[in-house]
Symmetry: C2
Subunit: 293 residues, 2 copies
């Protein structure tokens, strides 16, 4: 089977690389902190020492890193040259749509296709291959990588067209809406508690009827229990994403007052640093604390 | 079968009274505007000329009116006396929890149980008996009325305890969260449009994955089409509810910035009055207009 490059073995990257190995792909892994990838080496992965070594000529490299700076430093000239003509860079990270477009233009000079494919999945969902992928970029390149996304983490793949930045816009909208859902539940549950209702009963009614969806049931349960330190998606990463939402909103002249609110909540969580290993669901603490709970 | 009183034949009351008739109940109807109830008279209902005439001694009367003032004027001394000892007033309206508690205390003086049972359903869902009921009040009274709620509109009945105001607190939380969901989608979809994405594709991805719930799919479709004048639940009634949310929040010292935002959006819709027969989903117009769309 084909050899695939994989760069970035974090909470989310690890189970995806592992799934690819299990599916029979040969996987060359580059991770800044090499030791984290050692258990995958034991499963057959080849660990390499630079991003460009993860690439095969005309092959596919998946990257999953924390932010725009990281992807920009990884996917430079040496990387694009190593992939070469017909190669595909599948960028799984949540980054700015503008950065995605800049990278796409850069890669084109080397005959490399950049496909934006930010992941909609928490690590446990990625591991179980029930995540969702949203992809945008060159049509032939998207066709070629679909089986890889399905083998790695995705139950469904949604195609957002040719513009390489589109997938990341949708990813930002999705994360904004998750944050909005958390704020919404936090305010609602705080009102319930202050009025003497059993919060768990409120949660159960709402998440089994109007709001019967994974986001509300999953994050809602954490809010009911005030269990903020999971953390499979840290408050710092959540804040990074909300900053990207506001940056994209600002550049496109889109006022988003709810996005401002959740960004502010997350900023407070990170600034106060009172919750050890806070997951981004900790933004819910704002509404409760403001109400004296 | 038992004779039931029904007061308030509006968009929502009409299909519920009709369902009760179809289920074989004898229904005595009082409606301020008598002519609206005439088609139900043709189906066997008895139209009466005052709230108290709708009551039988020790019987059950359901009320479904627009606001606190309406229910307070209807459910006074004459009404409670007509229901008398062992009677039950099932209050289906979305009103202030405090008003519910005041009415409950008032009714107790006449041996009447007040059960808070605000409806979670748009008219079409009530008609199809797939709505949800949330009830609070005396335990025996709740048991007695459950079959009636199921015959009238409810697929499920959720019990929120003995405090007669609890059901209305949950109802307000639910409506606040629906309004929050509308705002959230409006901001997200505006961002999508301003960044060149196809809004319908964004809607389809989000409502088939993370936000696969009736609220998001139903209201989301209206927002995609900017179809704001349905109206099965008017902007004016939505504003009334958001005012009740903020009143309840204020009395219980619960800051709710998202509730402030959606109340403000609805206030603008009602103030400008640019959308004929605006449904409360029209609060979504705020985010689009602010973005110059």
């Amino acid at each position: 089977m084909e050899t695939i490059g994989f760069i970035g073995i974090g909470n989310l990257g690890y189970p995806i690389a592992e799934n690819l190995l299990k599916a029979g792909y040969k996987v060359k892994i580059y991770n800044r902190t090499r030791v984290k990838a050692l258990p995958l080496e034991a499963q057959g992965a080849v660990l390499v020492n630079s991003p460009e070594e993860a690439a095969e000529k005309g092959g596919i490299v998946l990257t999953l890193v924390s932010d725009d700076a990281a992807i920009t430093s990884i996917a430079g000239d040496a990387f694009a040259a190593a992939l070469g003509n017909g190669g595909i860079h599948v960028s799984l990270s949540t980054i700015s749509p503008d950065t995605a477009r800049v990278l796409a233009a850069h890669h084109k000079e080397y005959g490399v296709h950049y496909v934006g494919a930010p992941i909609f999945a928490r690590p446990e969902a990625a591991a179980a291959k029930v995540g969702n992928a949203v992809i945008s970029g060159n049509a032939a390149a998207k066709e070629r990588i679909k089986p890889l996304l399905e083998a790695g983490f995705a139950k469904r793949v949604f195609d957002l067209g040719e513009d390489e930045g589109n997938a990341n816009v949708l990813k930002l909208i999705g994360n904004f809406m998750i944050a909005g859902a958390i704020e919404m539940m936090a305010e609602g549950f705080a009102l319930a508690e202050k009025n003497g209702l059993e919060v768990k009963a409120v949660y159960e009614m709402l998440t089994s009827t109007l709001f019967a969806s994974p986001v509300f049931s999953g994050y809602g349960a954490m809010i009911v229990d005030r269990k903020y330190n999971v953390p499979s998606f840290s408050a710092a990463l959540g804040l990074k994403d909300m900053n990207l939402v506001l940056q994209t909103a600002s550049r496109s002249h889109t006022p988003m007052p709810l996005a401002n609110l959740v960004q502010s909540r997350l900023t407070t969580v990170v600034a106060k640093n009172e919750i050890p290993e806070a997951d981004w669901v900790a933004l819910a603490s704002g509404a409760f604390k403001d109400a004296g709970i």
